[in-house]
C-alpha cells in the first residue's frame, strides 16, 4: 500500500476492511459495548483481588496462639532451607582433607504417634536420615557447605548448598559393609569421595562453594528428618501422621590432612580439639523422639553422633505467595463465560453473517477476536493476580504467617503467568465456541475441561495420587502449574502430591500444555469457520 492511498483521513471501505487493524477495531467495539461482558470481566478481576486481600487479612494460621514471627532460614541461593543437625567439628585453616569410616547408621522413631503403641522409641527406616562429613562456612543456619554422607535408604551421597545432590555407592551401611568417606578442601573447591574398603576411592563430585573463609568448620554430622505417613484419600487434605526421628551414626578411623590446628600433619585426631554443636534455629522447633538426646560420644578414635533434623531445601511449614490466589477460579469462570459468548453470541442473532459480510476473511475475524479477548482478559488477570499477591502477601506476613522466600523472578512468573493463563483459558473458550457455536455447550465443555480436573486432582482429595497427577499432565488444567512456587526436591522426603500444591509438570511445561489446547481449539475453530456455512 502506498502513502498516497493512506493519505485520506477515511480510507476507502475496501482498503479499510482489508486491514487487520480495522477488524481488530470492530471486534474491540463489539466487546466493549456489551455491558454484561465488561461487567463480568471487571467483577472477575475485582473478586480475585479482594479474596486475595481477605485471605491475607483473615489468615492467622502462623502460630496457635496469636501471631508469631519466626523466619525461615535461606540458603546461599536465596531458597528456603532446613538446616538442623548435630555437628562434631573443629576448625580447618586453609586447605586439607578429612577421611572417616562409617560402620553404622541407626534411626529411631517416636512411637507415640504410630499405630504400634504408646510413646516409645523404636527402630525405623528413614530413607533420608544422613550422617557423614561436612565442611561449611559457619555454624549459622543456611551457611554454605558441602558434605559426603551415608543415608538410610539412598546409598552414599554428596550434597552441597542444600539443593545439590549427587549419588555414590548404593546400599546401606553396616559393620560388615562399612563406608569410607573423604572430603577435601582446596580453596573454594570441595571434593567428595567414597570407598567400600578405604583403598579404592571414587570421586562423588567436585563443587565450588564461593565465600568460604580461610578457616572453616569441618567434622562429623548426623541428622534425620521427621517421619510422615500420608494417606491420600482422607477428606479435606488431612495428610496423615508424623513423628520426629533421630539418627545415630558410628564413625572411626578419623584421619586429617592439611591445616588442622592442634594436630600434626597426617596424625590421627587429638581428642581435645573436637567440639559438639546442635545446629538449629535457636527455637523449640527441633524435637527428638522421647528419651533420646542429640549429642556425641568419643571413645578413643571412635565417635558416636546422634542428631535430628535435615540439611536440605525447605518445603514444609510455610505458605507461599500463591495462597492469595484462591479467588482466581471465580474470575476464571467469568472469563470463560465471556470468552465462549464472544464467539457463540454471534451465532445466536445471526450477527455472524454481518460480521463475515463486512470482513470476508474468516480466519482474520477469529484472530482479531482472539487478540481482543486475550488482551482484555490478560489485563483483568494481571489486575487480579498482581493485586491479590502484592497486597495479600504483606498482609499474610504481618499476621505472622511465614512466607516462603522466593526470588523476584519467581514472584513475577507467578503474577504474570497467572494473568497469561487467564488469557489463554479465555482464548481456549473462544476457540471451542467457534467449533461448537453454542454458548451453553462451550461453557460446559471448557469448565469441565479446566476447573473440574483441578478440583478433582488438586483441591478436593477424591482421586488417588497417580490418577490426580495424570489429570494435571494431560488436561488443560496442567497450566495451573504456573503458580507453583516451591519446587519439589527428590532428596527431601516430603509429600509432593498435587493436594499439597505440587504439580507434576514444571511451571512453563504445564503452561505450554494449556497453550497447546488453546492453539488446537483456535485452529479447529478457524477451520470450522471457513469450511462451514455461518
Amino acid at each position: 500500500m502506498t502513502a498516497a492511498t493512506m493519505a485520506p483521513p477515511r480510507p476507502g471501505p475496501a482498503a479499510g476492511r482489508d486491514s487487520f487493524a480495522y477488524v481488530l477495531h470492530a471486534e474491540w467495539t463489539k466487546f466493549r459495548t456489551v455491558r454484561g461482558w465488561v461487567i463480568a470481566v471487571v467483577v472477575g478481576a475485582l473478586v480475585t483481588l479482594l479474596i486475595g486481600v481477605y485471605t491475607g487479612a483473615r489468615s492467622q494460621d502462623g502460630c496457635a496462639t496469636g501471631p508469631c514471627h519466626f523466619t525461615i532460614p535461606t540458603g546461599p541461593g536465596g531458597e528456603a532451607v532446613t538446616d538442623t543437625y548435630y555437628f562434631v567439628h573443629r576448625p580447618l585453616a586453609g586447605d586439607g582433607s578429612i577421611t572417616v569410616r562409617v560402620t553404622s547408621l541407626a534411626t529411631v522413631l517416636d512411637g507415640g504417634l504410630t499405630p504400634q503403641g504408646p510413646t516409645s522409641t523404636q527402630p525405623a527406616a528413614v530413607p533420608w536420615s544422613k550422617a557423614g562429613l561436612l565442611i561449611g562456612a559457619g555454624p549459622g543456619q543456611g551457611a554454605a557447605y558441602a558434605a559426603v554422607m551415608v543415608t538410610g535408604g539412598h546409598g552414599t551421597r554428596m550434597q552441597w548448598n542444600y539443593t545439590g545432590d549427587s549419588p555414590g555407592l548404593a546400599g546401606g551401611v553396616s559393620a560388615a559393609a562399612p563406608r569410607w568417606l573423604r572430603l577435601t578442601r582446596d580453596g573454594d573447591v570441595l571434593t567428595g569421595y567414597d570407598s567400600a574398603d578405604g583403598r579404592h576411592w571414587t570421586r562423588l563430585g567436585t563443587v565450588t562453594v564461593p565465600g568460604l573463609a580461610a578457616t572453616v568448620q569441618a567434622g562429623l554430622f548426623a541428622t534425620s528428618p521427621g517421619y510422615t505417613a500420608t494417606s491420600s484419600q482422607q477428606l479435606s487434605g488431612s495428610s496423615g501422621s508424623g513423628a520426629p526421628t533421630d539418627a545415630t551414626a558410628t564413625f572411626d578411623r578419623v584421619s586429617l590432612r592439611g591445616g588442622w590446628p592442634g594436630t600434626g600433619p597426617g596424625t590421627a585426631s587429638a581428642g581435645a580439639a573436637w567440639a559438639g554443636t546442635s545446629v538449629n534455629g535457636g527455637r523449640d522447633s527441633i524435637s527428638y523422639p522421647s528419651g533420646t538426646v542429640a549429642g556425641y560420644h568419643q571413645a578413643g578414635g571412635a565417635f558416636t553422633v546422634t542428631g535430628s533434623g535435615d540439611i536440605a531445601p525447605g518445603v514444609d511449614g510455610a505458605s507461599s505467595i500463591d495462597a492469595t490466589l484462591a479467588g482466581l477460579f471465580i474470575g476464571l469462570v467469568a472469563v470463560i463465560v465471556v470468552g465462549a459468548l464472544f464467539m457463540a453470541a454471534e451465532y445466536r442473532r445471526g450477527l455472524i453473517r454481518v460480521t463475515l459480510a463486512a470482513s470476508p476473511r474468516r480466519g482474520r475475524v477469529l484472530a482479531a477476536k482472539a487478540v481482543v479477548l486475550g488482551a482484555v482478559t490478560f489485563a483483568a488477570g494481571l489486575t487480579g493476580s498482581a493485586g491479590a499477591i502484592l497486597i495479600g502477601t504483606p498482609l499474610l506476613r504481618a499476621n505472622g504467617n511465614p512466607i516462603y522466600p522466593a526470588s523476584a523472578l519467581t514472584d513475577a512468573r507467578v503474577i504474570v503467568g497467572t494473568a497469561a493463563l487467564v488469557a489463554v483459558f479465555a482464548v481456549f473458550a473462544l476457540g471451542v465456541g467457534a467449533i461448537l457455536r453454542h454458548g451453553a455447550a462451550t461453557v460446559t465443555v471448557v469448565i469441565t475441561a479446566v476447573v473440574l480436573p483441578y478440583l478433582l486432582a488438586a483441591a478436593f482429595p477424591v482421586l488417588p495420587d497417580g490418577a490426580a497427577d495424570w489429570l494435571l499432565r494431560i488436561t488443560p488444567a496442567a497450566g495451573f502449574a504456573i503458580k507453583q512456587v516451591i519446587p519439589a526436591y527428590p532428596q527431601v522426603a516430603g509429600s509432593f502430591s498435587s493436594y499439597q500444591g505440587y504439580f507434576p509438570l514444571a511451571p512453563w511445561a504445564g503452561f505450554a500444555v494449556t497453550c497447546g489446547y488453546a492453539a488446537l481449539a483456535l485452529a479447529l475453530g478457524a477451520w470450522s469457520l471457513r469450511r462451514r456455512d455461518a
Partner: protein, 270 residues
C-alpha cells in the same frame, strides 16, 4: 380461547405437563445429554475405581464415594439439560408462544420442574446403579473390599442405600437448581457458568482459603460439598456436614434458585 381464562384444573395442569414433556422429549439434545451423562458417569466412576489402590489394607477410602466419582462430571450434563429446558425457549423466542398458550407462568415452571425431575430421576438411577455396580466389581481387586478389611456391604445395606438414593436425589436437586438459575438468568451460557461455578468453586476456594474454620464453613455452605456428603458410607464423623443435612443445604439452594426464577418469571416481560 373465547371465554375468560379458566381456573386451573387437573386437566389444565396435565396439559401443561404434557406440553413440557413433549417439548423436552423431542429435543435431540435432551436425549444426547442424558445418554452422555449416564455413559460418562459410569465411565469416570469405573476409572476412579480402577485407579484406587489400598495395598496395606489400612486406608481411609470410602468405597461408595470412589464408586460415585463420576457424579462430579455427570452433574454438569444434568445441569446443561435443565438449563436448556428453559434457556432454549428464550434463545428461540419459543417462550412467548409457551406463555401465550399457558399464561399461568408458575404452572409452566412447575411443569418444567416436574418433567426435568422425572427425566433426571430415571437417568440418574441408571447412572448411579451402573457406577455402584462398577465399583462393586472393580474395587475388591484393588484391596478395597472384604479382603482389605472393609465391611462386606450389600446394595441393601442402609449406608449404601442412602448413598445410592441420595445421589439420585442429589442429581435431581442439581437439575432443579439449574432450572431456577436458568429461569432467572435466561442466557444459557451465563446460567451454566453460574451453576458450575456454584458447584465447583466452593471446594476450590475452601481448599485455598488457608483457614480451617473458613474452609469448613465454605464446605458446609457449598451446594456440591454439602450435597455430596450423602455419598459417604464411612468416616461420617469427619465430614464437614452430615449426609442428610448436607442434602438439605443443596435443597435450600435449589428452592432459593427456583423461587428467584419463579419471581422473575412473573415480574419480567418474556
Amino acid at each position: 380461547m373465547s371465554t375468560a381464562r379458566p381456573a386451573p384444573t387437573a386437566s389444565a395442569r396435565g396439559t401443561a405437563l404434557h406440553a413440557e414433556w413433549t417439548k423436552l422429549r423431542t429435543l435431540a439434545s435432551t436425549c444426547w445429554l442424558l445418554a452422555a451423562m449416564i455413559a460418562l458417569t459410569v465411565a469416570v466412576s469405573a476409572a476412579a475405581a480402577a485407579a484406587a489402590r489400598c495395598p496395606s489394607g489400612a486406608c481411609a477410602d470410602d468405597p461408595a464415594r470412589i464408586s460415585l466419582t463420576g457424579i462430579y462430571l455427570g452433574q454438569a450434563l444434568v445441569a446443561v439439560m435443565a438449563v436448556l429446558a428453559v434457556s432454549g425457549e428464550y434463545g428461540s423466542g419459543m417462550i412467548r408462544l409457551t406463555l401465550a398458550a399457558m399464561p399461568r407462568r408458575i404452572s409452566v415452571l412447575a411443569a418444567k420442574a416436574a418433567v426435568v425431575t422425572g427425566l433426571t430421576t430415571v437417568a440418574g438411577t441408571i447412572a448411579v446403579m451402573g457406577s455402584l455396580l462398577a465399583g462393586r466389581l472393580i474395587l475388591p481387586g484393588n484391596g478395597i473390599g472384604p479382603a482389605g478389611g472393609y465391611p462386606a456391604r450389600s446394595f441393601g445395606d442402609g449406608a449404601v442405600l442412602r448413598a445410592g438414593f441420595g445421589s439420585v436425589l442429589y442429581l435431581v436437586l442439581i437439575a432443579l437448581l439449574s432450572l431456577g438459575a436458568a429461569t432467572a438468568l435466561r442466557e444459557a451460557a451465563a446460567a451454566i457458568g453460574t451453576v458450575l461455578g456454584l458447584l465447583y468453586l466452593f471446594p476450590i476456594v475452601a481448599a485455598a482459603a488457608g483457614d480451617a474454620a473458613v474452609s469448613r464453613h465454605l464446605e458446609q455452605a457449598g451446594p456440591m460439598t454439602a450435597g455430596l456428603a450423602i455419598e459417604a458410607t464411612t468416616g461420617l464423623s469427619t465430614l464437614p456436614i452430615g449426609p442428610w443435612a448436607g442434602l438439605g443445604v443443596l435443597a435450600a439452594w435449589a428452592a432459593g434458585a427456583l423461587s428467584l426464577g419463579g419471581l422473575l418469571l412473573r415480574l419480567r416481560d418474556a
